[in-house]
């Protein structure tokens, strides 16, 4: 008993609030922007929370603050940011890392992701984004709600599934790409659009990032195609035409299930893209209703073509820039024997492989409507 008490006493006395860091002793980082400084060095812009005591009479100003530091390397810049901050920077709540195109071209992305994966407080599910402008400008943008930019941008990223017009990529996805046969990573693209009274943030399209080089941007169609191929398509719209292009209609995708399977057909590598898409027609320019079931196949076909067009756009882009879709990785996993035999000539083989489509489109609830308003 005596020994036990003594033991506890020693343990507690020696430990002395081990690892305790109070909430007001850390600077909570919510976003980070990476740019190239004028002298070519790394410029890290860190957005931190600026908590204002709930009971203070004087308003504490904006709820966030900016810390900028310039250094030779990224890790150094992050360390040096502490010089301008009264407290230790704390990265566990960092949701965004925004790369500028310049930064990727000058300094590369590899060491940044490496740092995120290895630092104990940074999270692997941090969103990584690319911008053609300055990352610091994006972090400084004002939002009509007056909220913290990092939170607003995070929300914009999270609601991407509504349109599937951009790509959502995390640091973990990046690391996963490096561990597999995918030569480059697709990051969501965020841009600031300057207007007379302030600016707008748009999250649309994607950027192709080779670890040390910025490659190209994807258009909306190509991005959607990429999302189809990788199974990341949430909901979205397909605008298609019928009657020889005279009538335009909009199809809203509600549910979808897709798969991309490499197959060997008589020794020839073939990719089969199959999709089951359910949705409803939301806009119809024709005055006629869809009551007539015999008119349906035309619409279904148009939707199918619309999806095919998007997928083909992405594949064409890949043929131009390199296999960012991860077809090589897919083949390695599904057809390991074929991969071992042909790994060396992969770059020549895959652009020749045909894409076969198996798309089932369903229109929901048309019969319930007599006539469009």
């Amino acid at each position: 008993m005596k020994r036990a008490v003594l033991f506890l006493l020693i343990v507690f006395a020696l430990a002395g609030c081990y690892d305790r860091v109070d909430l007001n002793e850390v600077e909570i980082v919510v976003a980070m922007g990476l740019d190239v400084a004028e002298d070519g060095r790394v410029k890290a812009t860190v957005q931190v929370l600026n908590p204002s005591p709930a009971n203070s009479i004087v308003s504490g100003g904006e709820p966030f603050a900016k810390i900028e530091s310039v250094a030779d390397s990224f890790t150094e810049a992050v360390r040096k940011a502490n010089l301008y901050s009264p407290n230790r920077l704390y990265f566990a709540h960092n949701r965004l890392v925004i790369f500028s195109e310049d930064f990727v071209n000058t300094h590369g992305t590899h060491h940044v992701i490496d740092w995120i994966m290895r630092t104990d407080d940074a999270r692997e599910d941090t969103f990584i984004l690319i911008t053609s402008g300055k990352a610091s400008d994006i972090l400084a943008s004002k939002f009509p709600t007056g909220s913290i930019p990092a939170f607003e941008i995070t929300q914009i990223v999270l609601t991407n599934y509504v349109n599937s017009l951009a790509v959502v990529t995390t640091a973990f996805d990046y690391a996963k790409d490096r561990a597999s046969q995918i030569p480059m990573t697709v990051m969501g693209r965020v841009e600031q659009i300057k207007e007379e009274d302030g600016s707008l943030i748009v999250y649309k399209g994607a950027g192709l990032i080779h670890p040390h080089q910025f490659m190209d941007y994807l258009t909306e169609t190509e991005t959607k195609g990429y999302n189809w191929l990788t199974g990341r398509f949430g909901t979205g719209l397909i605008v298609a035409t019928v009657k020889g292009g005279s009538e335009k209609f909009t199809y809203e995708i509600v549910r979808n299930r897709t798969s991309l399977t490499p197959k060997l057909v008589d020794g020839q590598l073939t990719f089969v893209f199959s999709a089951e898409v359910t949705g409803r027609i939301t806009k119809l320019e024709s005055s006629k209703s869809l009551n007539d079931p015999f008119s349906w196949p035309e619409y279904l076909h148009a939707i199918e073509e619309g999806i095919k067009r998007e997928v083909r756009a992405a594949v064409d882009k890949a043929k131009e820039q390199g296999d960012f879709i991860g077809l090589g990785h897919l083949v390695m996993r599904r057809l390991p024997k074929f991969w071992r035999e042909n790994e060396a000539q992969w770059e020549q083989i895959w652009p020749e492989a045909p894409f076969v489509f198996d798309i089932k489109v369903e229109i929901n609830g048309v019969g319930k409507l007599i006539r469009f308003l």
């Binding site: 430990a15 609030c17 305790r20 860091v21 909430l23 909570i28 566990a92 939170f151």
Partner: protein, 508 residues
């Protein structure tokens, strides 16, 4: 057991003599200083000397007047025949109209009896006294329970009088198998202690063990069941009480019916029951009087509340001082705003607030009723409002502490436990963060699993698992589904099948 330490030479005499004057002399010597002892000498039928002994205030004077003095003095004088010999038997059989009369020779036993309110009749030339039951003293009447409030069900509670209490139980369980067994404990106070159980339902081992432990008690005085509880429990240093208590006869009756043994102490309005299971602390009388679905919901809320009241302050410390990444970011912003500008680290804040919480509670219990509102005002306004607006503590902490307080009152039977465990968790967490928190949890679970009051696993039906008893744990099954008594208490069958309706196609 009785008046053990004799004073003076008179007590060398153990039994009564055949001479009334000698007897009275001995008794007077023994009770010399007490002015509440009444010795009334008189003549039976104007011939034989006799005396009654009683203690003023403990007896029903009316009973003594009507059933003892009047028959012996007035009625006997009018009777033509009063025998000279074996007068005691004649008196007992023909004259006294009291209903409970016993013979007693031992002087100490006689003293014990009159000190508990009986009347002793001593007759000249007889070496035995007649003890006439005449107890009648001021007691509190049966009132509503004060600490076990109920919405539905009986509203009577035990009083300080043993007779009243046993009668309350007897009225609930109208069965010859209901056994009351009495012990006199306390070398000075000679307090009556009664155990109550149902023969054939309570395990014999258990009854034997309870009796054994009660017999072994050697103490000068017993004033409450709390004394017995502490003297018979086997885990005195555990934060968990391993005997249950209740002030409601229906609760005691229900527990006895499950196979437990109840212990009553004269002068205590609480009964204790052994053995206690942990889950019992979450059960209330209402649970069985209301329908099962709602009861199950309330049971779960009670278990959650107990958990919250134990861990919420330490959880706050973990979130604010150690593991900031556990909070969702928007919530973190709120916390950061609240904590910004407070002068103390969270550990100190929580410690002080927990201390104040206990102070306010204790003040609320002890203070005289008229100054009650003052504590409320000081507690809520000064401690809560002002501390926050002065920037001493953060607002979330006030919410956490308020939550702790409210949840700890939901299960009053576990209040002591939750206060102690809260401190344990607080100490471990403030030193080691989440590691300390987990360590404390593990320690408590190990401790709970090791408790075995009266040889019964405390955590039953969870550890060891008893499928049948789960029906009355965090859920309460319908009464007709709980077919057996708790396994650890013997598990005897209690219900048959569910009653069937005589109307065709109707389920009852």
């Amino acid at each position: 057991m009785s008046v053990k330490e004799a004073k003076g030479p008179a007590l060398e005499q153990r039994n009564l003599t055949a001479d009334l004057d000698t007897n009275l002399k001995i008794i007077r010597e023994l009770l010399a200083e007490s002015n509440d002892v009444v010795i009334r000498e008189f003549l039976i039928a104007q011939k034989t000397k006799a005396a009654i002994l009683c203690v003023d205030g403990l007896l029903d004077k009316e009973v003594v007047q009507r059933n003892v003095l009047r028959p012996l003095i007035v009625d006997a004088a009018e009777t033509s025949f009063v025998p000279r010999y074996r007068l005691k038997d004649y008196v007992c059989k023909n004259l006294l109209t009291a209903e409970d009369i016993k013979e007693e020779k031992d002087i100490r036993e006689i003293l014990n009896k009159i000190l508990s309110g009986d009347t002793a009749l001593l007759i000249d030339k007889e070496d035995a006294a007649l003890i006439i039951a005449s107890r009648g003293f001021a007691t509190r009447s049966v009132t509503e329970p004060s600490s076990e409030a109920v919405v539905r069900g009986p509203r009577e509670s035990f009083t300080e009088s043993m007779r009243t209490n046993t009668s309350l139980i007897r009225r609930k369980i109208n069965n010859p198998d209901l056994v009351f067994e009495s012990f006199t404990l306390g070398s000075v106070t000679n307090t009556l202690v009664t155990i109550v159980y149902l023969k054939g339902i309570a395990k014999e081992d258990l009854v034997r063990e309870v009796k054994q432990r009660i017999r072994q008690i050697e103490i000068d005085g017993i004033f409450d069941t709390g004394y017995i509880e502490q003297l018979i429990e086997e885990h005195p240093y555990s934060p968990f009480a391993t005997t249950g208590y209740t002030e409601k006869p229906d609760v005691l009756a229900a527990r006895i019916l499950e196979g437990r043994v109840g212990i009553l102490v004269d002068g205590s309005p609480n009964a204790i029951t052994v053995p206690l299971l942990f889950i019992e602390k979450f059960q209330t009388a209402d649970d069985y009087y209301t329908r099962p679905l709602f009861t199950s919901l309330i049971r779960i809320i009670r278990i959650l509340s107990f958990t919250i009241s134990v861990i919420s302050p330490s959880l706050y410390i973990i979130l604010v001082s150690f593991q900031h990444e556990l909070l969702p970011t928007p919530l973190l912003v709120t916390f950061a705003n609240a904590v910004e500008g407070t002068p103390f680290p969270a550990v100190v804040e929580v410690g002080v607030m927990m201390f104040i919480l206990e102070i306010i509670r204790e003040a609320g219990v002890r203070m005289p009723r008229p100054i009650g509102p003052a504590v409320g005002i000081v507690g809520s306004l000064v401690m809560g409002e002002s501390a926050v607006s002065a920037g001493l503590i953060g607002q979330p902490l006030v919410i956490v502490i308020a939550l702790t307080a409210i949840t700890s009152y939901i299960v009053p039977t576990l209040y002591d436990e939750s206060a102690l465990l809260r401190i344990l968790f607080y100490v471990f967490t403030s030193f080691f963060g989440i590691i300390g928190f987990v360590t404390a949890t593990v320690l408590i679970v190990i401790h709970l699993a090791s408790l075995q009051p009266f040889g019964v696993p405390f955590m039953s039906p969870f550890m060891p698992f008893e499928g049948e008893d789960i029906k009355d744990s965090f859920l309460r099954a319908p009464l007709w589904l709980m077919k057996r008594r708790p396994q650890v208490l013997g598990g005897k069958k209690r219900f048959g099948e569910r009653p069937k309706s005589s109307i065709k196609g109707e389920d009852l």
